[in-house]
């Protein structure tokens, strides 16, 4: 009983904190799932899938929106000398029409989506663990409003092994 009560109070506290952080504002959120150990041998390549989750009320433009004016989702990665980003594959967007424009279909991501990348280690890459850093830039909307473009950091470690 006492334990349940504590959970309820902690829940209330967290809800209160969340409300205090965003008074009256919906803040679009995109978060990246943690990545497990990425390993690649010198001279070889490996596939790395980056998984993202969009807040339930929101959608973001796909990498290929249907208008030049719309801001595409773009992943930018900066790899160290020992690793190169050989390819980035974006998922196809879903064509959806929204209440604000029922006659127009927009190419968007919503819910969960993954961007597949290919990392390559040159044959002469020195063995070791290296950080890959970057950002995902996106522009979100909900059913009646849109929010300025935003970027979230993307970071993971790559272990390069001997050939």
């Amino acid at each position: 009983m006492r334990k349940n009560f504590a959970f309820v109070l902690i829940g209330l506290l967290l809800a209160g904190l969340a409300l205090a952080q965003s008074p009256g504002n919906n803040v679009p959120s995109v978060i990246m799932a943690p990545i497990g150990k990425v390993q690649v041998r010198a001279g070889a390549s490996t596939d790395v899938s980056l998984d993202f989750r969009i807040g339930s009320e929101f959608h973001i433009n796909s990498h290929t929106p249907k208008s030049e004016l719309l801001i595409p989702t773009v992943l930018k990665l900066q790899a160290p000398d020992q690793v190169t980003v050989a390819d980035v594959k974006y998922p196809a967007g879903q064509d959806v029409s929204f209440p604000f424009s029922p006659d127009e279909k927009l190419s968007v991501y919503s819910g969960d989506f993954s961007i597949d990348t290919v990392l390559k280690a040159p044959a002469n890459a020195a063995a070791g663990t290296y950080p890959v850093k970057g950002e995902l830039r996106f522009q979100a909307c909900d059913h009646s409003a849109c929010y300025p473009p935003k970027s979230i950091p993307v970071q993971f470690q790559v272990s390069v092994g001997k050939k």
Partner: protein, 205 residues
């Protein structure tokens, strides 16, 4: 158990109060007291001077005595597109009554692209190039569209966030047009106000 519960509730309220006051203090420190926070109805609209697409500088306070619809929008905002033809209609319909519509583009696009977009949307009102400062002054305008309805005396009559029905927009326009400019009330307006008040005065006597 009751004691623990009281402690938890007190802690909860204290943390909320600290967060709220910290956030308020941070905002007022950074932006001064003129920045709009919370319920803005009845507050003085922060003045600004922004470049318009035709190269001129536009100052909000130059429109004192007019009813101003101040619309924050962007070319990358599909819901904003829906409102623009409505605003053009309202400008045509109520311009003679003193309605001035100002569109503030919160875009990184070049003015030429914004101009082209506005023309395609049939915009017949002034488009200004927004800045972060103006956005901050109006309470961090981060949801687009956001529209402020500013009365003839420069106070905010209403604020609408997100796309609403055309009827809601037109109702807010009518409400804004019905305001008076207290600071420079014309003799006719003063006379009209006196005439409205007099029956009450008479009844009291």
């Amino acid at each position: 158990v009751k004691r623990n519960a009281l402690v938890f509730v007190a802690l909860f309220v204290a943390i909320l109060a600290m967060l709220a006051s910290g956030k308020y203090l941070d905002r007022t420190r950074k932006h001064g007291p003129l920045r709009l926070v919370g319920n803005v109805q009845g507050l003085q609209a922060p003045d600004f001077q922004l470049p318009s697409l035709d190269g001129s500088k536009v100052k909000l306070s130059d429109f004192r005595g007019k009813a101003v619809l101040l619309n924050f929008w962007a070319t990358w905002c599909p819901p904003c597109k829906v409102e623009m033809p409505w605003f053009a209609d309202l400008q045509r319909q109520y311009g003679k009554d003193g309605l001035v519509i100002l569109g503030v583009a919160m875009d990184d696009s070049k003015p030429d692209s914004i101009q082209q977009f506005a023309s395609e949307m049939g915009v017949n009102y002034q488009i200004l190039l927004g800045t972060d400062k103006v956005s901050d002054d109006y309470g961090d305008v981060d949801s687009l569209p956001t529209t402020f309805y500013i009365g003839r005396d420069g106070t905010i009559v209403d604020k609408m966030v997100g796309l609403l029905d055309r009827k809601d927009i037109e109702d807010a326009v009518k409400k804004t047009l019905n305001t008076t400019n207290r600071s420079i009330a014309s003799p006719q307006q003063s006379q009209a106000a006196a005439e409205v008040k007099s029956p009450v005065k008479d009844a009291a006597q």
